[in-house]
Symmetry: C2
């Protein structure tokens, strides 16, 4: 597997978005968000998905020149119409509004409609860190998850990210799908020709299965927790809260109406809202206590947990964000490894837009 | 098992709190919160715990006449010092502040320190419903939970409740511990002389066990998700977020320093903050879109999920809050069933305060 310089990769993605007609600043930001997924090791949400955004643009579901605007607001809240813009730029726009509101009244909360896939949740929540704010980011997603007891696909993997500032320790960055596993893990197993552990997916009849292709055969993913005995209903609750905050609050499509990003699901008729929804938030930590007090206690919290005695001496207690940050440092230095099919896919995209993919890395 | 009229039970609890020296209005509210747990079927958090509050009061850890006050605020936030008051009254006080702030600027967020056990999380979040607000409620709790890979007890069952208004459907009320199961479920199994499924608890060496007494032998509860393969680390993330919002943000004790409510854990020395912490929030739904639009879509959301096809025709997809509401209606009508040891415990408490428990039900 060859590795690719992340800045060169970002330049290529930027130029693709420019060719799609995106304004310069939006293309730059979208490329940065997308490649940040590859840097952080969330390969399923990075450049491997570029063709998906292009497909939605070709289908008229993504608008390259959106007029993103606030349609409703109070001092601490706003609702934003993404005008079908790339979720990769709509979400940072919304996050900046949340941060401006937090600057003025302590916290800011923004619900977004008429958007689409926004990349990794953690990119947006982390925008708050440099302002000494806690950042929140959630989105609904392609309906592939069944609520507990159901065999219908009514929810997405609906991730939640919360980023929390620290003093000397690296920041605490939670970023997780509300399912047992993210879709990307199934794709990884498939490439390795392995089966999935029970508790990850069920087949179209609602029976547990180890088939990594179950989703393409009408099956569904299970909410975090898995079976009822192990409280899978709590994962269903988490996913539904993300759905409601992202889509019912904003006026986007919720539940089974969430417009799918994956190509094997059709767009549902009779939408109940506009596009996909997100929910972003920013909380100034000094709206609760002096920032330096909070941050030094966060450092102590992290050190306490990191030093915790483990069951197996080869394991260590991880702090949310540790693995992604380490991966990001590594890949910034050594390049991003891309699978051959992904490279081929990017070359084909390049040809479509008269861009020579290989040229970017010379 | 005999049943007890909930209003009479509330009167008894009220009189106990009066005897402890609580002001009338605080005694009334505390009794209402405590008995609401019994009404909603969360028996482990109801009158069965009354003796626990009395023990903390006797130890000087609960102040019957607190001066609860705001110590820091912005238009959308506040930090509250509970002055060691009963969590049962400190939390509703904080929730009212959150709602007042939401009334003015759209949302209100309150972090609380120097408190203690606040009853069921859902009582406080539900206070927001009548104002057409979404209510949030979280608290940290007795350290009995190990983060993924650890055998140390660094977190509590740290529940999250979110209550969301609806139009004609009953409200959506999520209220769940961020562990595989709440402590109370272990107590229920113990009473039945049954063992726990694997994935609920581990022993003092960090090995999975079915022993329902594991916690009293140095063992710990597992975060939602259970094993690493089934994403137990996400439960650890959820529990840690509750801990940070409730305690690091407010200046309460976090992690292993959270002051325990259970009598078998000692109070840790060298506290890092004051008392236990909570986090309450209120969001006006018309701060995002007209309330009637939101509520009618919530009704549609609920109807869609409720009507979902199930794997087993004897099951149905539950909406968060359904079981507790049904239980509450039943128990309001037919009385609250109390186990003999609980009745005996209440009678003993009555004797201590010169109150005749039986007299309340004649």
């Amino acid at each position: 597997m060859s590795t690719y310089n992340y800045k060169a990769l970002q330049n290529f993605v930027n130029d693709v978005f420019i060719k799609m007609g995106c304004p310069d600043s939006q293309a730059t930001e979208a490329a940065e968000v997308l490649v940040n997924a590859d840097l952080r090791g969330v390969d399923s949400h990075g450049v491997a998905r570029l063709h998906g955004y292009i497909r939605l643009w070709e289908e008229g579901r993504i608008n390259a020149t959106p007029e993103i605007k606030i349609i409703h607001e109070t001092p601490s809240t706003a609702t934003i119409d993404g005008d079908k813009g790339l979720g990769l730029v709509v979400a940072p726009f919304a996050m900046r509004i949340a941060m401006e509101k937090a600057e003025k009244v302590g916290t800011g909360w923004v619900s977004v409609k008429n958007s689409n896939h926004y990349g990794i949740a953690g990119h947006h929540s982390m925008m708050a860190l440099e302002k000494d704010m806690i950042g929140w980011s959630m989105t609904n997603a392609s309906p592939l998850v069944s609520p507990t007891f159901s065999k219908e696909r009514l929810l997405g993997t609906n991730p939640i990210s919360i980023a929390i500032p620290t003093e000397k320790q690296p920041p605490y960055v939670a970023d997780f799908a509300t399912t047992t596993v993210a879709n990307g893990k199934l794709e990884v197993l498939k490439r390795k020709n392995e089966s999935a552990p029970l508790g990850w997916v069920q087949d179209a009849d609602g029976k547990g299965t180890t088939d990594v292709d179950a989703l393409k055969k009408g099956g569904s993913m299970l909410p975090l927790g898995g079976s009822r005995e192990h409280s899978g209903h709590k994962g269903y609750i988490l996913g539904s809260i993300v759905d409601i905050f992202s889509a019912v609050l904003s006026g986007a499509n919720y539940g089974p109406w969430a417009p799918p990003f994956v190509s094997f699901l059709p767009l549902k008729e009779n939408p109940v809202g506009e596009g996909l929804g997100h929910f972003l938030g920013a909380m100034r930590i000094d709206a609760f206590r002096p920032a330096s007090d909070f941050k030094s206690h966060m450092d102590n919290w992290i050190k306490t947990f990191r030093a915790s005695e483990t069951t197996d001496e080869n394991d260590k207690v991880l702090i949310p964000g540790d693995p992604e940050r380490e991966m990001s440092e590594l890949r910034k230095a050594e390049g991003i490894p891309l699978l051959k099919p992904v490279v081929k896919d990017l070359s084909t995209i390049g040809e479509k837009f008269e861009l020579d993919f290989d040229q970017y890395f010379k």
